[in-house]
Amino acid sequence: MEEVKKNTGQNLGIAALITAIITFVLAVVPCIGLIAIIPGIIAIIIASVGLSQAGRNNSPRGVLRAGLIIAIIASMISFSQIFVAGKFIGNPNKRLYGIHNFINDIQDNVTKEIEDANVSIKVESNGNKVEINTNANKKDQEQKLEDLEGGNTLKQDSIQKHDSIQKHATVRKKK
């Protein structure tokens, strides 16, 4: 009977120690550090219950104390991981800036590819076929425009502007 009294809380102590050591190993790894808070709290509760039982029966408390200390340290480390994650979530500008740059890169690439593209449009209606081939090359368009206007165009004009002027010029020519 006395031996049973002496060992009160020892099983709880070992359970707390196992949980605390697992918590500690998990807590120091950033990937899974956040989960470690759950076994950490469990270990603290087990160790506290064991300590109160051992205190009532005057049984040894070494294992329980070790379990409690390791569990508290591990839980604190695990808790600190929340702040690390919070730092990233709290500063979304960094991530948005990255996305913004990524979109700009894609836009630039697409614009570059379109600049040198050859566009072909085919229209078929009642057996009649019309095919329009055009080159979107900026330099070619500029050259065409200069030929039509007699070299009075501004080089900074955009392709859209060139197109509208070109249409205007052809209408005038027809007239």
């Binding site: 120690l17 196992i18 990937c31 899974i32 991981q81």
Partner: protein, 147 residues
């Protein structure tokens, strides 16, 4: 019958003795946890990509953390593919070495603890300081990421 009783008594004495030695219990549990980590690395492989635990940090923040790829790195180290392990996580090797060293140290210190009862206090102090230093050296990149 007498032999069985004696064996049973020795077992009970050992159990009672172990319960009064928190240091030995810690050593046994820590060694068990390390063996579990090695078993986890051996069971799951990077080829099958069947790891049950994914990076929570990456899920929440959308950015990779310093320990991303550690499980794959451990699996590859267990299989002897060190260069690939380094590519998955450059700190994988030093953390694996920490656990391997701790496994050996737990066994060695437990043996010394039982063999030389007079020097137990010094042994525990040396163990705490030594393991603390090894831990800091191995996990420093992870600790820095928390700070």
């Amino acid at each position: 019958m007498l032999l069985y009783e004696r064996k049973n008594k020795t077992k009970q004495d050992m159990k009672a003795g172990l319960r009064n030695e928190p240091y030995l219990i810690i050593n046994i549990i820590f060694a068990g946890v390390i063996l579990l980590i090695f078993a986890y690395s051996g069971i799951f492989s990077s080829e099958k990509d069947n790891y049950p635990v994914t990076c929570i940090h990456e899920k929440i923040t959308g950015e990779q953390c310093v320990s991303c790829g550690l499980s794959r790195s451990f699996s590859l180290i267990v299989r002897g593919r060190f260069e690939e392990a380094y590519q998955w996580n450059r700190y994988g090797m030093r953390i694996f070495l920490f656990f391997a060293a701790q496994l050996v140290l737990r066994a060695a210190f437990s043996r010394f603890y039982l063999k030389y009862p007079d020097t137990r206090k010094q042994l525990i102090i040396i163990d705490c300081i030594g393991s603390g230093i090894i831990f800091l050296v191995s996990f420093w990149p992870f600790i820095v990421s928390i700070i």
